[in-house]
Structure formats: C-alpha cells, structure tokens
C-alpha cells in the first residue's frame, strides 16, 4: 500500500513505548484539555491505546467521556496538553495535515455536508490529500471514489444532491468518502448512528472485511454495546473524565458491575444464543 510510510529509524528510539511493532495507531499518555475562559476542562487524561493492522477496535463509553476528542487529537484537530499520538510510526504533531489525511480517514459524528454538491462530488473530496493544488481528480481518483461508493451501496446515489439524501444515506456517503481517502487507518465516530439495523450490520461488516482483507486498522466509536461486541476484535471502554475503564475482549469489558459503574445504570449481559457474543440489555424501570 503506497500510503504506508513507516520510518523505522525514527521509531527505533521509541520502541519501548510502542505496544506492538505493527501498531498503525498508538496513543500514549495522551491528555487533552479544552479551555473555556479561565477554566479548563480535561477531556482525556493519560490515555494509552494502540490499534494494530488488521484490527477492529470498538471505543465505548458514556456521552462526554472523550471518544470524539480522541479522534480529533489523532487527526491534529485539537492539540494535546501532553502525551503523543503516532500514525504509522510518526508523531502527528510533526506531520502536515495532508500527510495525516493520507494515513487516517475520519467518519465524523453528524457530519455537515455542503448543500447542492452531489454525493459523488462529496466522496471525491476524500481524494484531497492525494491531489496537488492545481490538480483535478483523474481516472485514478474516480476509480477510488467509485469503488468506495460501491462498497457502501451509495453508487446509485452518485448524481443525487446530498441535501436531498436521507440521514442514513448521507452517513454512508461519508463512509465512502473516508474509504476513498485510501488510508491504512480508519477512525469512525458513531458510523451507525443514523442507520437502520440492516445498514448498521453492513457498515460494521464492511469495516471487519477491510481489517481482514486489507490489513486496515479501524477504531470505531460504537454506542450500541451489543453491536460493538458482535463486530469488534477488541473493546476499549472509557469512563467519564477520559480514562480507560477496561480494555480487552467483549466478554472482559462488558461486565454488568463495570457497566453499572461507568454508565450509572443497571444492565444485564448474557451470551447471544447463536454466536455466544455478549448481549447487553439495559434493565427497564421496575424490571
């Protein structure tokens, strides 16, 4: 993959900090704070995680625990107070924005799409980091966009204006844009929020296929714990305050006592009758 540029010389001295040599995304000791006026609010505190090639990691946790902040820090949209983020071996702070976009693509939460542009035009915007200032999209870029749209089932929407699409269709267009970026790392912020269960399964199934077949490293924020347990190789659970509450297999992370502590609500966890994966069911009032 031509976008993979690992520089062994530079990573050598940091080797002890890298959890795994094949980790495409490593976050170590990351602390991020937002300041509003004189007060500063810590969103992530001393967070360390790693995602290796071929791995689909689900990021779970209650609202406001810093999941979105982590994705912003990885793509240098926010600057950390301390700690570092490495993409394919290089510290993101030292990489130009375009190089970061050649290594990691993002499906943001509630993305705003420009009205009046077509779905294809929006997907082609994912080719931006591969184009020079005066360069227009060529056959190579159209092929990448078409392949991405076919994989997400949005090719039929290519000529439609994005402001005429449904929320779920828009969401899949944004997933296609991220795929068209052709990056080794994919970061998804609730990619299934607006999707029906059929499309939820197909998007997460697609992510799993991208990990298995193309060795991509995928970090996905998932709110539906059962869905996360069904598709992810590993789960990382954050607690309010931006620290890791648990990390590991779905069975290790989705324990009722931990869910009660982190989410503040009682939930039952039982194995799926067919797959054996954990199913999380919040207890209903009086139940």
């Amino acid at each position: 993959m031509e976008t993979l540029r690992i520089q062994p010389a530079e990573t050598e001295k940091r080797k002890n900090e890298l959890p795994s040599s094949s980790a495409l995304l490593t976050v170590s000791g990351l602390t991020v704070a937002y300041s509003s006026g004189k007060r500063s609010l810590v969103a992530l505190r001393d967070l360390s995680i790693a995602v290796t090639a071929g791995e689909l990691v689900g990021l779970v946790g209650p609202n406001g625990c810093g999941k979105t902040t982590l994705i912003r820090a990885v793509t240098k949209v926010v600057k950390p107070v301390s700690g570092e983020v490495r993409l394919c071996g290089d510290e993101v702070g030292s990489l130009p924005q375009a190089e970061i976009a050649r290594r990691a693509a993002v499906v943001p939460q509630e993305p705003l799409l420009p009205e009046a542009f077509t779905a294809l035009e929006c997907v082609l915007m994912g080719r931006t980091p591969h184009l020079k200032l005066l360069e227009n999209e060529g056959a190579r870029d159209f092929d990448a966009a078409r392949a991405a749209m076919q994989r997400t089932g949005t090719w039929e929407l290519a000529d439609r204006r994005v402001d005429e699409l449904s929320g779920g269709e828009r969401q899949r267009v944004v997933v296609a844009r991220a795929l068209a970026q052709e990056t080794p790392v994919l970061l998804l912020d609730e990619p299934t929020a607006h999707l029906d269960i059929g499309h939820q399964a197909s998007v997460l199934g697609l992510m799993r296929a991208l990990c298995r077949d193309e060795g991509k490293a995928v970090l996905a924020v998932v709110h539906d714990l059962t869905l996360g347990a069904a598709y992810c190789d590993r789960l990382v659970m954050l607690r309010p305050g931006g620290t890791v509450a648990a990390e590991g297999s779905a069975e290790e992370v989705l324990r009722p006592e931990l869910l009660e502590e982190v989410y503040g609500t009682a939930a039952d966890v039982f194995p799926h009758p067919r797959t054996g994966r954990p199913v999380v069911a919040p207890r209903t009032e009086g139940g």
Partner: protein
C-alpha cells in the same frame, strides 16, 4: 453524449450503466461567458452621449492593434473619446466587476455564508476609508506608475475583515446573519468618517465624492494601471483554489481531516480577496452587491462547484458591471448617476430573497 461520461460496470456484474464520472467540461460555459463579456464590452465602448458609430468604434479599436494602420476617415475627436475615455472606463468597470464577483464568491466560501459580499461585510467601505485618508492627507498617491492607494485600501479592508470575522466567528466560519450585521454596522461607521473627511476637505471633494458613491466616470488608463498589479495576482491565487474552496464548504473539522491546512488556506484566501477588492475600491469607490448577485446567479444556473463558479464569476461579473455602468451613463442623460445605484437596485431584492431563504436554513 456528454463529455466526461463513460461506461461503468464492464467489470462488475449487472448491466453496464452510463454514469457521469467526470466533471462536465468547462469550455462551453467559458466560451459563452467570454462571448457575453465581449458583446457587452463592445456595447459599452460604442454607446455614449457622443454618437460614434459601431463601425467607427471597431475601426478605432482595431487601429491600436499592431500592424493595423490608423483609420484616416475617423475624426481625432472620436478617436480620443473611444480610446481615452470609453475604453479605460469599460476596462476599469470590467476589472472591478470581475474582482468584486470573485471576491464575493471567495468570502461566501470561506465564511460559509451565502450573504457575504465585499460591500455588505464592510471590506469595501473600510478600504474606501483608508484610501480617503491617504487622499485627503495630500500625500503623493503615485510614484513610478504605482500607487499607494491600493495598499492603504488593503490595510483598511484587512482591518474590517478582522473585526467582522472576530465578531461573527462561530467555530471557524461565520455562517449567520451576525456577519452581515457587523459588516453593515462597520460600514456605516467607515462611510460616516469618509463623509466627514470629505466635508472637511472641500478642495478634494469631487474626487472623494466619486470615491464614496462609486463610479467609473473618472476612469483613466493610469487608474487601471494602479489597480491591476494587485488585482490580477490576487484573483489568480483565488482561481487556483477552486477545488480547495469546495472542500472548505465542509465544516472546519472535516476540511482538516481530508488534509487541508485550514488556517493557512483561510489567511491566503481572505488576504487575496481583500487585496483584490481593496485595489478596485481604491480606484472606483464602493460598489455594492456585485459580489452577491453574480456568484449566486451562476450557482443557480450551473451549481456550486467553485472550479466553474470562480472563472464564470470573473467573466460575468465583468459583463454585469460594464452593463450597469452603461446604464448609469445612459439612463439620466446628459448627466450620470452613480453606478452603485444601479447595482443596489439589482442587488437588494436579491439580498432580501437570500436573507429570507437562509433564515429558514439557519
């Protein structure tokens, strides 16, 4: 078949579908724009209080081409009218229209605000105030064919951009009507100070008067030469950013995540748009609404792609303002009316329509 379509699906299962996978070619549109601009420019050169025939106009203009002899049958007075009065006027109006339309489209893209226009956000009036201060100070405005007026105007324009953007900024853009409110408020102040300076300096009042009201009645080759060294490079920089401007219409975070250095790009584009607009204002005064009408009309016809929008705004903005200036000359003969009145007549209904539409959207 439309250019840029090709067969897709040859390799995949299912029927082969004709799909537009390329952008439509720009050339038919650009040719149309050039034809309209040329026609309007010829009309602007040929029509005026002095009845010079179209044929004579063409002969006078052609006589300045290398290798074409001067036409003996045309009187020197007519030659003077066409070459020294009307042609610089048409060219200056064209340059101003092209620049204001391109600058308007740029502000609309960077601020993600459909109502942005160099006049409405206070840039033109700020530029005008700074240019007026230099004029009334009595300093030499030009040396070696270069004028300090565009640079002074640029400083005024930048100050205005910083103020209105600072007031209206929401997460890296200025999408709301706050931008326009701040711009109009700042405009009122700039215009008030400009008017005050005008009254205090009656000796220069004619010059300043035309600067405040806007117009091309004092157009000369020299003025054209003052503005162009700044507007041409600035407009070229903007034209080079068409695709990037499309990506900026995503929100700031997404633009970064597809690889745009948003801060740097905004500085480049706002700087270029302000320099171009300021240089034009410093020689032609404040003319409103061109940057609003022209880009929106083009969007309605051909869609939002800035790679097509910007060059078309350049051509049709020039044609629009040459036409408006022609109307300003001819409506109330033998006197003239300021061209800003014509553009306001066209622009304000358009502005109200957009305001109504964006109020629903915001």
């Amino acid at each position: 078949m439309v250019a840029g379509t090709r067969k897709v699906g040859a390799l995949e299962a299912g029927p082969a579908v004709e799909r537009p996978v390329g952008r439509r070619s720009l050339w038919p549109r650009l040719t149309l724009g050039c034809a309209i601009l040329l026609a309007v420019a010829m009309l602007g050169a040929a029509v005026g209080p002095a009845n010079v025939s179209l044929e004579a106009t063409v002969r006078i203009l052609a006589s300045h081409l290398p290798g074409v002899g001067i036409s003996e049958s045309v009187s020197p007075a007519w030659q003077n009218i066409i070459w020294e009065v009307r042609l610089p006027r048409v060219l200056l109006a064209g340059a101003a229209g092209a620049t204001l339309a391109v600058a308007g489209a740029t502000y609309q893209g960077v601020f993600r605000n459909p109502l942005a226009d160099p006049y409405l956000i206070g840039v033109a009036t700020g530029a005008n105030l700074a240019a007026t201060i230099v004029l009334v100070s009595g300093a030499d405005v030009a040396t070696h064919g270069l004028s300090v007026l565009p640079l002074a105007a640029f400083a005024g324009a930048l100050a205005s951009v910083v103020v209105v953007y600072g007031v209206a900024r929401v997460g890296g853009a200025a999408p709301g009507t706050t931008l326009i409110l701040a711009g109009v408020a700042l405009s009122s102040l700039s215009t008030a100070i400009t008017a005050y300076l005008m009254l205090k300096n009656t000796t220069n009042s004619l010059t300043i008067m035309s600067a405040v009201l806007g117009g091309f009645n004092t157009a000369t080759w020299v003025k054209l030469a003052w503005a162009l060294p700044y507007t041409v490079p600035a407009v070229l920089v903007i034209l080079a950013h068409g695709r990037i401007l499309n990506v900026l219409s995503l929100d700031e975070q997404q633009a970064r995540q597809v690889g745009i250095d948003v801060e740097r790009t905004k500085v480049v584009l706002l700087g270029a748009a302000s320099l171009a607009a300021a240089a034009v204002v410093s020689v032609s005064g404040t003319i409103g609404f061109v940057g609003l009408i022209v880009p929106h009309a083009i969007r309605l016809i051909w869609g939002p792609d800035n790679r097509a929008l910007l060059p078309m705004a350049l051509l049709l903005g020039a044609a629009f303002l040459i036409g408006a200036d022609l109307a300003a000359r001819m409506i109330d003969q033998p006197s003239e009316i300021p061209v800003g009145i014509i553009t306001a007549f066209c622009g304000v209904p358009f502005f109200l329509y957009l305001l109504r539409r964006s109020r629903v959207a915001l």
